[in-house]
């Protein structure tokens, strides 16, 4: 069990991804850097409103090398993809309550980068997303989603 967005949690996601792709063939070659930008939406207790947390993922030959939190202006690597969305949506994805493909399809999570590669590697991408959403036993020290109702109440929404 790991707290959401903790180092142990990132490592758990990484391990889950690698376990899932271990049996896959035709994994894409090369290195990809993916940035995940999660911004506070006033509902999630894990990222304050108007605050943004940024995560960088390195995929090499289909496996996750590392997954870590970085500063927003981090330029240590050249990005291949950027996923951006509100904290509540990412929390719900991590809790297995929200489907990441649905979130991308409906525009709640914006995806930027070479879509050809994503489409051609659809199977691999699906496996990685599934690992993110269902691969880790997550603990939620500030409360577990769905928490919209009480937080919305607290916000006076």
């Amino acid at each position: 069990m790991a707290d959401i967005y903790s180092t142990a949690w990132y490592e758990g996601v990484r391990d889950a991804m690698n376990t899932r792709v271990a049996t896959m063939t035709d994994l894409p070659k090369g290195v990809l850097h993916i940035k995940v930008e999660i911004y506070g939406d006033g509902i999630s207790p894990y990222i304050e409103e108007d605050v943004e947390r940024n995560f960088l993922i390195r995929i090499a030959d289909g496996h996750c090398d590392w997954y870590r939190e970085v500063d927003g202006d981090d330029t240590s690597v050249k990005l291949d993809y950027r996923f951006r969305g509100p904290a509540t949506i990412f929390d719900e994805i991590a809790a297995g309550l929200q489907d990441p493909i649905d979130a991308a399809l409906h525009g709640t999570v914006k995806v930027r980068g070479d879509m050809r590669f994503l489409m051609r590697q659809a199977e691999h991408v699906s496996v990685l997303l599934d690992a993110y959403a269902h691969g880790v036993q997550t603990t939620w020290p500030l409360g577990r989603p769905p928490y919209a109702a009480e937080h919305k109440e607290a916000l006076g929404a």
Binding site: R82, A104, V111, R116, R120
Partner: protein, 531 residues
């Protein structure tokens, strides 16, 4: 003009200028050659009627503003382009005096549709909301990258389970017409007619199998129609300024006679006046495949099979547009404003199509070379652009679906029939806006499908999309499979105009996608790829 450049681009339409500007910003010495007296191609604004009345001769609707990467990458607004997004984007006026209006405000659009069918209004809201959500994703996947095959896309959609996640997207759409899509989801004839009309204005003809696949995307940006203040040519001028600011050169009145090929590689061009200019790295053509492969290249430079296929297999639209440009002293006052006052503020108005059957019948007539009883669409730019006509006056633009070649006489018939058919189109407009009497119309000129082809030869047979819009001529199949990735059998010769995926219209897509291929081939630093 020097005698050698890194890159020579043939054609200074929006694709040629866009490609040239990106390459110039990438540090290449770029020359863009234009046959006409000015840059722009379809971005052509002229005082066709009277002094002070600015008429967009070809491109009038800019529907990819803020969706197409070049709009930002090339800072077109910084170069003087001002866009307005009309609040009332479009309307349909029906023969019974009712009207339907499309607004930038979704609630108002749904309220308008609900006057015909509350169920259809709910469906439209769901369709729009769903499509608007994935419009970025679809544009990034389908329009602003070199194309994938239908097979690859279908496989990916299946793997991602898109069909189970979407009410409206489905792999079966690749076999269906827009008519079928509308019949499956909507109930009211007038609502269906309006939505089909909107597709047809975007060249997505409602009865062509397979075009349903693009329809949700069209709906996702149905309220993104923009008007270029001061005329569409302002965009061409902005692109030229960007090119020039980064060291690129555009030469007008530069009629290309041939592309020079040395040992299978494009190495330059020769102009009609005999001038020879070398290209150190590439030549890119943004004109038609026919001009490029049948006129500019020696037959020996083109594989025999490709030569034959360009001659015989390139598909063009089977309908064109007949236009009437008007100078007026009043805005149209529609009778249907009694039903919905917003029609008087609608930028583009469908005059009379009230059912899919009516559209089907007219497209069948057009394909047979017949002129339908006019049901033109009317655009009044002056509603939102106070600069396009003298004070107190307005411009008008009528567009009617029409054949290129008229049955029994061919395209030459337009020379004698243009004025006559223009009168009929104006009469059709008056039926709905009786205030547009003779004394209100100061002047008008017809602009026929024949004139489209004469003015812009790359629009072969008046084909303003520079290639049929059909599933068989989309993605990597456009304009031919061997040319579908912007490269050609001639090394260092690229195709970068609207003959290529995605298609015509002011999408910037062909140039932007050709740029990706060129960048890969030349190992350019792709500064524009902002992830």
């Amino acid at each position: 003009m020097r005698n050698a450049y890194d890159a020579i681009v043939i054609g200074a339409g929006h694709n040629g200028l866009t490609l040239g500007a990106y390459l110039a910003r990438s540090g290449l010495e770029v020359l863009v050659l234009e046959r006409r007296h000015e840059e722009g191609g379809g971005l052509c604004t002229e005082e066709l009627t009277l002094a002070g009345f600015l008429h967009n001769v070809h491109a009038n609707y800019h529907t990819f503003v803020d969706l197409a990467p070049p709009v930002h990458d090339l800072d077109v607004r910084g170069h003087g382009v001002e866009y307005v997004r009309p609040e009332v984007q479009m309307a349909s006026i029906y023969d019974d005096g009712t009207a339907l209006t499309i607004h930038t405000d979704l609630d108002k659009t749904c309220a308008s549709i609900a006057r015909f069918s509350e169920q259809d209004a709910d469906t439209f809201r769901r369709l729009y909301s769903e499509a608007h959500g994935y419009v970025d994703l679809l544009l990034g996947t389908l329009m602003y990258q070199p194309p994938m095959s239908v097979k690859e896309l279908t496989k990916a959609l299946a793997t991602f389970g898109v069909e189970d996640r979407s009410e409206f997207l489905s792999v079966k759409l690749r076999r269906e017409t827009i008519n079928q899509f509308l019949d499956q989801h909507f109930t009211n004839d007038k609502v269906k007619a309006h939505l089909a009309f909107h597709g047809a204005v975007c060249a997505y003809t409602n009865d062509v199998p397979g075009l349903a696949i693009g329809f949700p995307l069209l709906i996702g940006k149905i309220d993104n129609w923009h008007l270029c203040i001061g005329g569409s040519h302002r965009l061409a001028h902005a692109l030229w300024r960007d090119l020039a600011q980064h060291g690129g050169v555009m030469i007008s009145d530069a009629d290309v006679r041939s592309i020079a090929v040395d040992r299978g590689r494009a190495v330059g061009v020769r102009l009609v006046d005999g001038t020879e200019i070398s290209a150190r790295k590439l030549v890119a053509s943004t004109v038609s495949v026919e001009q490029t492969f049948l006129e500019f290249l020696e037959p020996s430079a083109v594989p025999e099979e490709l030569h034959s296929r360009v001659k015989n297999d390139v598909k063009h639209k089977d309908w064109s547009l007949f236009s009437v440009h008007l100078a007026m002293t009043a805005l149209p006052a529609y009778v249907a404003a009694e039903f919905d006052p917003d029609v008087d503020r609608a930028w583009v108005v469908n005059l009379g199509y009230g059912s899919l059957e009516e559209l089907n019948a007219d497209f069948a007539a057009v394909r047979a070379g017949r002129l339908p009883d006019p049901k033109p669409n009317a655009a009044v730019n002056s509603l939102y652009d106070p600069t396009d006509a003298p004070p107190g006056c307005a411009t008008g633009l009528l567009r009617q679906f029409a054949p290129f070649a008229i049955a029994g006489g061919g395209e030459g018939e337009w020379e004698s029939m243009g004025r006559w058919y223009g009168h009929r189109c104006i009469d059709a407009w008056r039926k709905y806006a009786p205030n547009l009497t003779d004394d209100v119309i100061l002047d008008w000129v017809p602009y026929t499908p024949l004139e489209i082809a004469q003015k812009l030869p790359n629009m072969v047979r008046g084909d303003w999309m520079m290639g049929e819009v059909s599933l068989a001529n989309m993605l990597d199949q456009r304009p031919l499979p061997e040319l579908g990735q912007y490269r050609t059998p001639v090394e260092a010769l690229y195709m970068a105009g609207s003959t290529q995926h995605p298609h015509g219209f002011i999408t910037f897509g062909p140039a932007y996608n050709a740029l990706q291929v060129i960048a890969d081939d030349l190992a350019l630093d792709a500064w524009w790829r902002q992830v």
